[in-house]
Symmetry: C2
Subunit: 393 residues, 2 copies
Amino acid sequence: MGIFGFILTDRLIPNIKEYTLRKGICGKDLGKRGTDLADKPVPEALGIVSGAVFIVCLIFCLVGYATSHPSKLLDVNSALLSILFMLFLGFTDDVLDWPWRYKLILPTIASLPLLCCYNGSTSIVVPIPCRALLIQSQEMTILGKFVSWFIEIDVASNGSLVDVGLFYFLYMGMLAVFCTNAINIYAGINGLEAGQSYVIGCAILLHNFIEIKAQSLSQENHLFSAMIMISFVAVTLGLLKHNWYPANVFVGDTFCYFAGMTFAVVGILGHFSKTLLLFFIPQIMNFLWSVPQLFKIVPCPRHRLPGFNPSTGLMEPSTFECKSNEYIWLKTLNRLDHKTERIPNMTVINMALSIVGPMSERNLCSLLLGLQLICCGFGFFMRYYIAGFFFDS
Amino acid sequence: MGIFGFILTDRLIPNIKEYTLRKGICGKDLGKRGTDLADKPVPEALGIVSGAVFIVCLIFCLVGYATSHPSKLLDVNSALLSILFMLFLGFTDDVLDWPWRYKLILPTIASLPLLCCYNGSTSIVVPIPCRALLIQSQEMTILGKFVSWFIEIDVASNGSLVDVGLFYFLYMGMLAVFCTNAINIYAGINGLEAGQSYVIGCAILLHNFIEIKAQSLSQENHLFSAMIMISFVAVTLGLLKHNWYPANVFVGDTFCYFAGMTFAVVGILGHFSKTLLLFFIPQIMNFLWSVPQLFKIVPCPRHRLPGFNPSTGLMEPSTFECKSNEYIWLKTLNRLDHKTERIPNMTVINMALSIVGPMSERNLCSLLLGLQLICCGFGFFMRYYIAGFFFDS
């Protein structure tokens, strides 16, 4: 299915991009302003090809599953449903430009089928050092009693298990909304959206293979996740080939949304959502660093992409204007001249450019993907080494 | 959910149509050529609103189902998945204009999840007069022996039951493809697509209520179907309000596809696909009558809509040119002057205009919906009266 998915995506993109171009679903490459390529329209929303091929691959996997693992059929169905909903939402967003509120409400609704079909445990394992805070010598502490108003503490297990019940569903719903939007706001230069998804996808796949090899208790769940991830990684690679610098096509919100939901789905149904978040460190950093602009605490221009300097051919941080002195703390953080009134937009991309200095779009993308790779490596280190100190095997 | 669906669709359409207009997803009303309205762009593909609201309604129904009928969860999921896939395909078709081959392949794939999750019987009941052809005095006849090479005849039941196995799945897949395209080709005048879907939806709902009231064996299935149909009828009514003559919005392929798949889904999962086909008589007539043009046996112009005559303000049958004498049989069927070389396009809409004479677009739509209503009534007569002679109660 993976090979089929890659070849089909790779072949279909040059074909389908003519359709999107013809209908005016295209954009100017803002990272090439001032060059010959600046006015060439680049077809947009080609994530629809990888998304549709991915769904078709998964439907064929479903057919195989129906005969071999009938008990997992519901999981595959609800996974497909949530991913397809986001693919649909993403494409309509590329075509119609939804306002922000829809982008937050609809992923929440899209994650509902997933949550309804979730039939795993809602208990979480308490890290060893925290257990003594809840239970001491078989008796609940004051903190433990307070906490037990909201959630159920398993006294028999000496506080090592806590059933968080509905809060777990809330967490999963928020994870889905976070994942769908996290990739979308860490985007804007050629190859970054598809590239980061490819790296994360490979990390998840590696994690799945390690767990399957180790014959852990959740082997079945990891097999399920691997099945989805192999198709995903394949179609993403097919897309990346056309989206790599200089991009022939843009991936659009279509890709960002369905890729994010795919990660959320495998994290939730594969029961490794905490490990998943370890692979999302650059996205989490980017989100946290963007919060002041996203919530309009400081001014937020329409685009926050880095700017292209035609005279050097390099990308430079884009800036926003700081109208008063009230953002003085920002300037301190950015280590800028205190008299300047322009501050780099608060994204990891601009931060990287501020730290390393101007560089070409291709190198910038490679640098950010390198960062993603290092963060994933760090995630594995946390999961397989550090976690051993906090959780029982 | 129904009331919520109707109000939300009705309120959102004026809002969303601004988005589609702004992005140029709009069309000219071909039925108003030569009037003041001819050049006014009408927003297209507003079926997306009713479709998205419908999916949201169904997801909320799913949440309710998850707690009350966990065994039916898989059915709801696969139903949603197939409907959503068609909604997605329909919208991309409205935006990108897919070639015909995609429109036949993709609905087939979209129906796969439904077929995988189908866990009902694959046996059909043989009409009483045909049983003697298969089995006589507990022994298979020659025809029976021949038939049993392909399908399994239940000798114990005296030939009243036949297990058609894989052929049943083939039949269901073809039903899905037929339903999704049948509404799309019986379309083109204001209010017809949404109107016919509304009438068929109400007929299905009535059938469901009769079966639920009668406490038949398949009561559960009819409850399931009624749950889907109530939301569907509600959002369709909301859309019809804006699509009725003179149309403020067009429904697009988006609506035709997801409406058709919705009918197929309830027919298959509700186990009343034969009854469903009785409600589709005008669509079947239209399809059969269109076959020569669809398969290019006779010439097929790009549009087959009836033409508007600005001098009378009435619709008249549109025609195609007959280049040789080889279609002489067509002319005979149309009872036209044998010398004429222009023949009305082969759709039920043009046929109605040929028989009744030119009429206004609003009256034409009312006439066709009246025909739909009569056919549904005939369907009920067949199902509840005539069927009694051919099948045991």
